[in-house]
């Protein structure tokens, strides 16, 4: 028994790699309609011809020379994991543009099969390709598929079965004579020689380390080659590949596509026009966020879960049951009462947070699957440049309104370190996650003035923090480029599947924390630590003008902001807070430290030092803003 054989799915962003991965493995990797949905590597298992394979779904990449973080990850997996097969998935209607990547895979001497996916859209455009001819020209198997409808999967599986019989492609791109001479004389394999010429820093660095003398000899040769041509070498290499790809496609085209000027195209343009685009954005926010998540999720569903399900059906019998088997109050308190697992942990997680997060994820899934996000990115790019971000950053930031932890991971798709850092900071500081947002909306419902001030303060902090970090942080301003996919009608099954997977992910993420916090609070309560902590927070809280009773809420908020927000919700409902106090505490809670999970993700993505520095900045800004707000309210004697 050797190691399990690996199959890698690769290709440009947004061509349906994950759909094919899901179909092959029966698992679920998130599928959306925007480039960069997959930022992590997914692994699953499949069977073909009685043999087991590991299937690896990689984040999309445009070429073998990586620009962003996740492209680097994909490239290294392909080079390092020695797959028995690479499935290159493309969007058929853009075959001319995507074939150069197939050529690069062939140049890397990898066993490749080409999957012409999204065949339905190509059909609609009238594009017809001679697959036999493509196979001959490329020297690799070619399969057509419509992943979302499950078409072509059997054919892919057949090709997997025959992987061992796959012969190496004889296709060879001949570059300019001087470049060819360099490749032949370099002593490197063709792929690495080409990557070196394309200024691939990673390959050059390993070469410098491992084959110092070889590189020393190559360096002047590369320099000479560079001087010989007017254009950069990477440009010439890309051009040669493109020409060969265009030639192959031209020959294989049986029917040329006609330009589409239909209804979807008109609608698509409306989403990207400044005026209609912003109206649409307002509509999305109002109907999606305010009505569906706010009113339906945070209002109706939370009420139902809290009062009916927990308040009437679950907690009373559970309380009775616990009281019957454990006669000791201290033990009873582990499960019920103030800090009990059922009454606090489970109730917060299932009754308050889950309905809100669930409805948000559903709305977000619709937004993702229609292809609205890249359009929003292009609409907002100009404004975002002012806060040091490109339009692309809109994707992690909007996702952050759902879950900051997930969003922090997605900042990988941004192309510069500086941009990733600013996005991480804003996510930690001024982007409340859906759980928080929902609870805050519930607290402030019926108080439109406070809601408005809260919104204004958070926005002001967001903009100021963005502008300041754009000024302070060194580095180049980001550039913006993004493929805008066609508008597509979401598939209901995918919407539910995605919402379900994310809710499951969320619960797995929060349940242990919620339960642990319940236990911790119970322990702190009995050991007297809680009283001490409360006494210690007396001073900072009084500066903010908050009553001592909010101390526990902030202590809980330290573990998860939404947990703290849920605590505030409890307090505000029984009228423990004045309106002024409510505003200040909600603002501080929104800006306050992200939850532990997000902090861990920040450490993972940005390294410990940076994460800690960001945490410090966030804490100072959160309490500073609360302090100033309270001061302003007092000085101007405003009673809300």
């Amino acid at each position: 028994m050797g190691e399990i054989k690996k199959i890698i799915i690769a290709g440009n962003p947004n061509v349906g790699k994950s759909v094919i991965f899901n179909a092959l493995t029966g698992s679920y990797a998130t599928v959306s309609n925007y480039p960069g949905t997959t930022v992590e590597v997914f692994r699953g298992k499949t069977k073909a011809g009685g043999e087991d394979f590991e299937v690896v779904d990689t984040p999309g990449m445009y070429s073998f020379v990586p620009v962003t973080e996740e492209e680097r990850v994909s490239r290294n997996i392909i080079l390092a994991e020695k797959p028995v097969l690479v499935i290159h998935v493309i969007d058929t209607k853009n075959i001319e543009r995507m074939l150069p990547f197939t050529i690069q895979l062939i140049e890397a001497r990898l066993p490749v099969i080409l999957v012409l996916n999204i065949m339905d859209e190509a059909d609609r455009l009238g594009l017809k390709l001679n697959i036999k001819l493509l196979e001959e020209q490329l020297g690799i198997p070619v399969v057509s598929s419509i992943g979302t409808m499950g078409k072509g999967i059997t054919a892919i599986r057949e090709k997997i079965t025959g992987y061992a019989a796959l012969e190496a492609s004889t296709l060879k791109i001949v570059y300019d004579p001087a470049i060819e001479k360099f490749i032949n004389d370099s002593g490197l394999d063709r792929l690495r020689a080409l990557l070196v010429l394309q200024d691939d820093t990673e390959i050059i660095n390993t070469l410098k380390k491992e084959k110092k003398t070889v590189f020393k000899e190559l360096e002047p040769k590369i320099e000479k080659l560079r001087e010989k041509y007017a254009q950069p070498l990477s440009y010439l290499i890309a051009l040669a590949r493109q020409q060969s790809a265009t030639g192959i496609v031209e020959e294989a085209k049986e029917k040329k596509e006609k330009p589409a000027g239909n209804f979807t195209e008109k609608l698509s343009r409306l989403t990207m026009n400044t005026f209609s685009g912003y109206i649409l954005l307002a509509a999305v926010l109002y109907f999606g966020l305010y009505l569906f998540v706010g009113k339906f999720g945070a209002g109706f569903l939370v009420d139902l879960m809290e009062k009916k399900v927990f308040g009437e059906w679950l907690i009373p019998p559970a309380a009775k049951f616990i009281e019957n088997i454990f006669p000791w109050k201290a033990v009873q308190d582990i499960f019920i009462n103030d800090y009990g697992i059922v009454t606090l942990g489970m109730r917060y997680a299932f009754a308050i947070i889950l309905p809100i997060v669930g409805t948000f994820f559903f709305v977000f899934a619709i937004i993702e699957d229609t292809g609205y996000l890249p359009r929003l990115a292009m609409l907002i790019d100009r404004a975002f440049k002012k806060i040091g971000l490109s339009g692309r950053a809109v994707i992690p930031l909007v996702l952050g309104l759902g879950c900051g932890t997930m969003a922090t991971m997605v900042t990988r798709t941004l192309s510069t370190k500086r941009e990733r850092l600013i996005a991480t900071l804003l996510l930690a500081l001024a982007i409340p996650c859906s759980a928080q947002l929902g609870v805050i909306m519930a607290i402030l419902s019926g108080l439109p003035v406070i809601l408005f001030i809260w919104l204004a303060v958070i926005n002001a902090v967001f903009i100021t923090a963005g502008i300041l970090s754009a000024k302070i942080l060194p580095g180049e301003a980001p550039s913006f480029f993004m493929e805008v996919p066609p508008l597509r009608l979401p598939k209901l099954s995918n919407l539910f599947m995605k919402t379900y997977t994310r809710m499951e992910w969320y619960l797995k993420e929060v349940m242990p924390v919620f339960l642990a916090v319940s236990l911790l609070m119970w322990f702190a309560d009995y050991s007297g630590l809680l009283k001490l902590a409360i006494r210690l927070s007396f001073y900072p809280l009084s500066v903010l003008g908050l009553p001592l009773s909010t101390a526990t809420v902030f202590i809980m908020g330290f573990f998860r902001r939404d947990y703290g927000a849920a605590g505030l919700y409890d307090m505000s409902r029984i009228g423990l807070l004045t309106h002024n106090q409510m505003l200040v505490s909600v603002v501080v809670m929104t800006l306050f430290l992200p939850c532990i999970a997000q902090l861990i993700m920040m450490i993972k993505e940005r390294k410990l030092g940076t994460a800690m520095a960001l945490t410090g900045v966030v804490t100072v800004i959160a309490f500073g803003t609360g302090f100033i707000l309270n001061l302003a309210l007092n000085i101007f004697k405003i009673v809300l």
Binding site: P100, D381, R382, E483
Partner: protein, 215 residues
């Protein structure tokens, strides 16, 4: 009117002093002798001065020299982009061309080419007066994507080599010479069609992609 040879001396001085930042440029460095007829002409016109061994450009000389450089590089662009010439011939022909492109004509050519900012080798083309008021009276053959009007189409002629990483990215997306593009809108970002996909880019990138307009 100064002679061709003299213009080349001015050109050589400009490149060495302002672009290569050489401290001193002697006549022999440029491959001529100090008592050469052209040098004498330039000295007489007050375009250059001799300081010891070194030739220096005067204020007037600098203006004149910058203009020669600009004409040479515009000529290179014209020859590669419009006449589709390649290789070493470009430089030689450009040397002859630059003398024909006198003031007024160089502005026309600059407009025609969409006010390019670099020559095919990637060095800067000094800016002309027309570049500041660009877009107004242009009859364009080649234009950067950023100056295309929505609805216009063309073939990508060249991509200005700026930042390697950025170049790498847009090339990887398939934005390459010879590909057909059509600009769909230019606000708030530049939206263009390439093959059967649409791409959005910001102004910085749109300014680097030059298109030969077809429709």
């Amino acid at each position: 009117m100064i002679m061709h040879k003299s213009e080349e001396i001015l050109e050589g001085l400009y490149i060495n002093i302002f672009e290569k930042k050489k401290k001193s440029v002697t006549p022999s460095y440029l491959g001529i002798t100090g008592d050469n007829a052209e040098v004498k002409e330039l000295l007489k016109k007050g375009l250059v001065v001799l300081q010891g061994e070194n030739l220096k450009l005067t204020k007037d000389g600098e203006v004149e020299a910058r203009d020669v450089v600009r004409r040479h590089r515009l000529a290179e662009r014209l020859l590669t982009d419009v006449f589709d010439m390649k290789g070493a011939g470009v430089h030689r022909s450009a040397c002859e061309f630059e003398h024909i492109l006198h003031r007024g004509i160089d502005e026309q050519i600059c407009r025609l080419l969409g006010h390019p900012t670099t020559c095919p080798h990637g060095t800067n083309i000094p800016e002309g007066k027309c570049c500041k008021e660009k877009g107004i009276k242009d009859t364009r053959v080649i234009s950067p994507l950023s100056l295309l009007r929505p609805g216009e189409k063309g073939k990508i002629s060249y991509i200005q080599a700026g930042d390697q990483a950025k170049l790498q990215t847009i090339m990887a997306m398939g934005v390459l010479p010879g590909m057909e593009v059509g600009l769909l809108s230019n606000f708030p970002s530049y939206l263009f069609k390439l093959g059967n996909s649409q791409f959005a880019v910001d102004e910085t990138i749109a300014r680097q992609v030059f298109v030969r307009i077809t429709k």
